[in-house]
Structure formats: C-alpha cells, structure tokens
C-alpha cells in the first residue's frame, strides 16, 4: 500500500509555527521522519490559518526539496496554489483533491493534465456524501467519465470514498468498504482507491486502534493507498501484517523489518 504522510499540514501547531517563523529544520525533520517510517509520498497543506497560501506553499515545497525528491501531494482547494504547487513539486505529484462537482473538475483537471500528475478524487458532490456504497460509486463513475473526457489515464486516478468519524456517522464505514470493492470495476485500466484514514477516528478516545483496525479492513477490501500518520508505528505494523496475510509479500521471521527496507 502506498503511504501518503499527512504530517506536513498547517493545521498542526508545529508546522504552523515553522511556516510563520520560516523554520526550515522543523519542516525538513517531519519530512525525513515520515520517509523513514515508510511514507512514499508527502502531503503538503499550508493549513486553514495561512494568510498567504501561495507564498507559504512555495516556501514549504522548496524547503522539502532541499532534503528529498520524493513525490508530493499538493493539498489545497485554491487553483493558483495548486498550479504553483504542482509546478514546483515535479515528477510523480498528486493533485489533492477534486470531488464530483463538475465545475471544480473542469477547473482542476487541466492542471493534472498539464503537469502529468496523479489525482485524488473524493466521492462528494453538491448534495454531500452519500450514505450508501452505490451513491459513492455513482459519483466515482462521474469522476471517471470526466477524467477520461479530459484525456487523462485512469490508472493515475485515486478514488477516495470518504470515511467519516465513526462517533457521528457509524453507518458510513461499512459503506466505504463496499465502495472500495466496487470502484476498480468502473473502467480499464481501473482507478486506484485511497482513504484519508484518520478522519474515521476524529473525536474518539482510541484513535490509533480505530485507525489501524479500519485500515486492515480497507486493505482486505482492496485499498491501494492511504493518507495516514506514518509515525504511528502500530498502524504501519498493522498495514505490513495485513499485506503479508493478503499474500502481497513473502513471509520471513523479520517481515516487519524486511518491509521497512523496501
């Protein structure tokens, strides 16, 4: 499973302070720690408090690029910030994110085409997040159609069937699992699936336990990638073990260690 590290986000206090004081080492340290913890992509989000998102995004990417060339997921709702972010991040970038709203897709997809990026697409439309798997898959189908219309290869599309906090939206988790199974059937080459995992445990008392339990269930339903906190060692251990049990890796006594050498 592809791990997208979620820690470089201005909504976290240390990142917000690093942006405000232009403290490079804090940001670079978070980047390096996530990569050591098996992240393959780093999410970059200036956070809701940023008053100059374009400049902040530029500074963050340049700062990260001093220590690593790993692909970045540019996480913003602003078109100009996305454009600049994708331009600066270079090869393998993720556009994070679009959803099922047509006008937004028509605005953002040309950027994905221009910079040859992967795309994260949430199954949300103007009426919100459907409660059923069918509702989610229907939006996913619209997204797939739109992506094809823009001449973009669907194998780079990551559908996120949107998990909601279990303490307020209990019925959604089973629907997400079902949607994960159905999304790959939408087209050929099949789109991939992704989750913004930590949403599931928002506001609960057992965040790590809920996160890793749901991650294992999602992997068994075919999940390809997740935006997670890779510094949660129990979570990554659970993911490695789940992939082992799904037959994706060869067992050996040091299988956790073996995975981390990849």
């Amino acid at each position: 499973m592809l791990i997208i590290g979620e820690k470089i986000n201005g909504m976290f206090k240390n990142v917000r302070e690093a942006i405000q004081t232009k403290n490079k080492s804090i940001l670079q340290d978070i980047a390096k720690k996530q990569l050591e913890a098996s992240a393959g992509v780093l999410d970059v989000n200036v956070g809701p408090a940023s008053s100059e998102p374009l400049k902040d995004m530029q500074w963050m990417i340049e700062t990260i690029r001093e220590v690593t060339n790993v692909p970045l997921a540019i996480d913003t709702t602003k078109l100009d910030v996305m454009d600049k972010g994708l331009e600066l991040s270079g090869e393998g970038a993720f556009l994070n994110s679009i959803n099922g709203e047509e006008e937004k897709m028509d605005k953002f997809l040309p950027l994905a085409k221009k910079y040859n990026t992967k795309i994260i697409a949430l199954t949300i439309n103007k009426t919100g997040i459907p409660i059923t798997p069918e509702g989610r898959v229907e939006i996913a189908a619209n997204i797939v159609a739109k992506v094809m219309e823009h001449g973009i290869d669907t194998s780079g599309l990551y559908i996120d069937p949107v998990i909601l906090p279990v303490n307020v939206a209990m019925e959604h988790s089973a629907a997400v699992l079902e949607a994960l199974k159905q999304c790959p059937l939408l087209c050929d080459p099949p789109p991939k699936t992704i989750l913004g995992l930590s949403n599931v445990s928002q506001g609960t008392n057992y965040r790590s336990l809920i996160d890793r339990t749901f991650l294992v269930m999602a992997l068994a339903s075919g999940l390809d990638a997740a935006i997670v906190n890779p510094l949660d060692k129990d979570l990554v251990d659970a993911m490695i073990t789940a992939e082992l049990l799904l037959g994706k890796n060869i067992y050996c006594d040091s299988f956790l260690d073996a995975y981390r050498r990849k």
Partner: protein
C-alpha cells in the same frame, strides 16, 4: 493490437565476481550477473543486461557418487589443477571449486590444505572463482575464512552460508571483500530471512547470491523452480531483500541420479548412457534458466558447450 506488457518496478541487484590486476586481483576479467528488470529473456518487456553464466565445477577429490564423470574424466579426475585448467579450455565463464575433501567423514583435509589448494588454483587458471566448502557447516566455518583470506582482492563468491554458519562466513567475506552464496533448503521464507540476517551483519544484499538448493529431478525440480520464480517476481515488484541473483548447482544434483548412472545394459529402454546423462544435465540447466538462474554450475564439457549456446540464442534471439 496493443501489446500486453508487464511494467515492473524493481530490479535484481547487479553483482561483480573477479578482480583484475588494476583492481588488486589476478583474474583475466571481471564478470557481472543480475541487473534484470524483467523475467528471463523477455527482452521486449525489460532489460537483461548480463547473460546468465556457466560455471564449471571442479572437485578436489573424485566425486564417488558420479561414476559416469569419474570414467569420462579419468585422465585428470585425481588432479584438481589439471581439471581446473580443462574447465578454462572448455569455455566456462568461471570456475566453481568444491573443497569436498575437507569433509570430516571423508579425507578430513585441513584448513591449511584448503588455503594452499585455492592459492594454487588461482595461479593455474585466470577465470573468476567460486569456492564452495565441503557441505559440513561446522568444518566450513574453519576452512572458508582461510580461503577468504588467501583470495583477498580476488572478489570471489564464497559458499555456502547457511543459517548455522552464516555469521563466520559473512564476516570472512566482509573482511576480504568477497560476496557470499546464501543457501536455504527449498524454503522461500528461510531464504528471505537468511538474506536479512546476512545483510544485518553489514554485507549489502547486493553482495548475496541465493541458492535455494537445486532439485535435479521431479518434485525437487518443480519446488525449486517455483521458489526461484516467486522470489524473482517479488524482487521485480520491489522486494529488495529477495532481489538478488540466483545460483543453481546443476552438476551436483544431476550426476548422482539413476538416469545419469545406469548403463544401457541395466536399462535397455533408456537408450545409450552418454547422451542420456549429458542430456539430463543440459535439460536441468535449461529449465532453471527459465526460472531466473544467473549462474549454472555444470561439469560436463558437452553440457557447458550446449548451455552456453542456448544462453547465446536466448539472449540474441538468433539461432546459430
């Protein structure tokens, strides 16, 4: 129609064996194995930068389980150095010296003997060298460090490192800049684990060659073939721990079986022994080529010739 081509993300490690004088050794050439980015010989799908190699096996004592070879090689079977020289003439890519005589149940030859013999072989032939102990994990822990020391600078391939003696053998390889063969008995999980244990000691995975042991016939062949294939698939999809070259001890497994021993008188329906026996070694080797073997250890000159031709054809797609 669109070609259905697999896109692999991994690459098999590339390993050099042998060292020339400008690099502190005395071999006539340095040879490379590994580096594949696709399954064997699928040149349309990825790269296979180094052809699989044929190593000629030399035993330091007549191999008593190989009556056919003893008969055919009778003029030099008791003279390790002459035998080694012959291998060079036969066109082998490298030499695989086996120190069988050191086995405690056999002649139980000493550590000093092993060191001296290897030195003499180095002076006699200029091919890159593989040195295998006597298939006794404890005794190998004594002789192989000596061999490693005597061949310092030659970048040999040293084996077999097993779960019982890998520490000593890995340390010897590290101290003298050699690579090791990691041997596990037809067990993919142990094979992966042994690679981890060896690399934990500081010898990079890139200096390990796996030997899954080699089946010469029937089920053994199939087990080995599927383990090799599974390892190669894992390596090509990004599991670096098993993305190492693979060696197969073909001779050792084929010459002791009944099909390579029984005369036409004993088995009238099996046909003449010579072509049947050589055919067995050739068939076994050709099979393992398709499973991803990087070094095939053979003994008969006719097999060496045929397999080298086969490899050439498979690498170029041109029939001779």
């Amino acid at each position: 129609m669109e070609k259905v081509i697999e896109k692999w993300t991994g690459k098999i490690a590339e390993l050099s064996i042998g060292s020339v004088s400008s690099e502190g050794g005395s071999r006539s050439k340095v040879i490379k194995i590994g580096g594949e980015t696709t399954l064997p010989f699928l040149h349309f799908e990825g790269q296979m930068p180094n052809p699989p190699l044929v190593a000629a096996e030399v035993c330091d004592t007549p191999p008593e389980h190989w009556p056919f070879i003893i008969e055919e090689f009778k003029n030099f079977i008791n003279d390790t150095l002459r035998w080694a020289k012959k291998c060079e003439e036969w066109g082998a890519d490298l030499l695989c010296l086996k120190l069988d005589s050191c086995h405690p149940d056999g002649k139980n030859n000493s550590v000093e003997y092993a060191g001296e013999l290897v030195s003499k072989v180095l002076k006699t032939v200029s091919l890159p060298l593989i040195v295998i102990g006597c298939n006794h994990p404890e005794k190998d822990q004594e002789i192989l460090p000596k061999v490693a020391e005597m061949t310092k600078g030659e970048k040999i391939l040293l084996g077999m490192a097993t779960k019982d003696n890998y520490k000593t053998i890995t340390a010897a390889a590290l101290a003298n800049d050699h690579s090791v063969i990691a041997e596990t008995p037809l067990d993919i999980n142990l094979a992966k684990q042994l690679n981890i244990l060896i690399s934990d000691m500081g010898l990079p995975v890139e200096r390990i060659v796996m030997h899954h042991t080699t089946g010469g016939l029937g089920y053994g062949f199939e087990y080995c073939y599927s383990i090799m294939e599974r390892c190669r698939l894992a390596g090509l999809t990004g599991d670096k721990v098993v993305a190492t070259p693979i060696i197969n001890m073909i001779a050792e497994e084929t010459w002791k079986i009944k099909e390579a021993k029984a005369s036409k008188d004993e088995q009238p329906t099996w046909g003449e022994l010579h072509s049947r026996a050589v055919g067995w070694e050739v068939t076994c080797a050709a099979g393992y080529l398709q499973a991803g073997s990087d070094i095939l250890v053979l003994v008969h000159p006719e097999s060496i010739k045929i397999i080298k031709q086969t490899i050439k054809q498979l690498m170029t797609g041109v029939r001779p």
